[in-house]
Subunit: 145 residues, 2 copies
C-alpha cells in the first residue's frame, strides 16, 4: 500500500467518525508507517517533534478509536503504537527482554492457520468469543544477545 492509499483510507476511517485528518495526524500515520515495529511516544516525538506531547497522545487515541492504529503494551511501562492490522500484514512481535525494543516478524501462513484453528477450538470450550490473537516472543534481540 502506498502512502497515498494509506492516507486515503485513514481519512475515510476518520470521516466516518466525523474526525478530520489533520496535519498532525497525518504525520503520526506516516511516522508509524515508517517504523520497523510499534513505537513508543518517546520514539514518535523524537521522529516528529512538530506537535506537543499531549497532542500526540490525543491524536493517537483518536486514531485508535477509529481503528487506524493499535495501542499495545509489552512489559515495560511505555505503551507503543502501530498501524492497525488492516493496513499491515498480520504479524507478531519480537520483544527484547534486555533493551525493550520491539520488532515485527511474520509466521508461515500454514502455521498461522493451524494455530488459528486450535485457538478457536480451545476458546470455544471456555465460551469465549475470539476477536484476535496476540503472539509475542520474548528474548534477546540481535544487539543484546
Amino acid at each position: 500500500m502506498t502512502q497515498d492509499d494509506l492516507d486515503a483510507e485513514v481519512a475515510e476511517l476518520l470521516s466516518e467518525f466525523d474526525q478530520r485528518y489533520t496535519a498532525g495526524r497525518k504525520r503520526l500515520v506516516s511516522t508509524l508507517s515508517a517504523g520497523a515495529g510499534p513505537l513508543t511516544i518517546t520514539e514518535i516525538l523524537a521522529a516528529d517533534n512538530t506537535q506537543a506531547q499531549s497532542s500526540v497522545y490525543r491524536n493517537l487515541t483518536i486514531l485508535e478509536s477509529v481503528g487506524a492504529v493499535t495501542r499495545i503494551v509489552t512489559s515495560d511501562e511505555f505503551a507503543r503504537y502501530e498501524l492497525a492490522e488492516r493496513f499491515t500484514e498480520h504479524h507478531h512481535h519480537l520483544i527484547c527482554n534486555s533493551c525493550g525494543s520491539v520488532e515485527d516478524f511474520a509466521l508461515d501462513a500454514s502455521v498461522e492457520k493451524t494455530l488459528d484453528d486450535a485457538l478457536h477450538h480451545a476458546a470455544e470450550r471456555s465460551g469465549f468469543r475470539v476477536q484476535e490473537h496476540r503472539l509475542d516472543l520474548l528474548g534477546l534481540c540481535r544487539n543484546c544477545s
Copy 2:
C-alpha cells in the same frame, strides 16, 4: 503440586537470592495460587488485606526477580501477577475486551510443539534468541458476549 511443595520451592528460589520467605510473601503466593488467572494488585489486596499496598508491590517485585511470579500487562492500565510457569502448566490467556478479566487456557501439546518450532525458526531469521513466547486471545468472555 501441593501448597507445601510450592512453598518449599519458592523458599528455595528466594534463598538463592538471600531473600526470606516472609509471611506476607507466603500469603501472596497462596493468593496467586488460588486464582483462576493472573490477578491485579487490587484483586490481591481484596483477597488479602493483611499487608500494605506498598508491601504487596515490593514483595511481588522481589518474587518476580527470583523467578517465582510473573508480571503481565494486558491492555488496561493494571498490571497482573501470576505464579511463574515453573509452578504451573504452560498456558495462555483469554483476555476479555469488555470487562478486562483474564482467564487461563491451554493448547494441545501437538499444536504447541508445531508453534514452538515455527517460532524458533522465524526468530532465527531475525537473529533473535527466544526465551519464551506469549500467546493471548482477545475477545469477549462468556459473561460479556
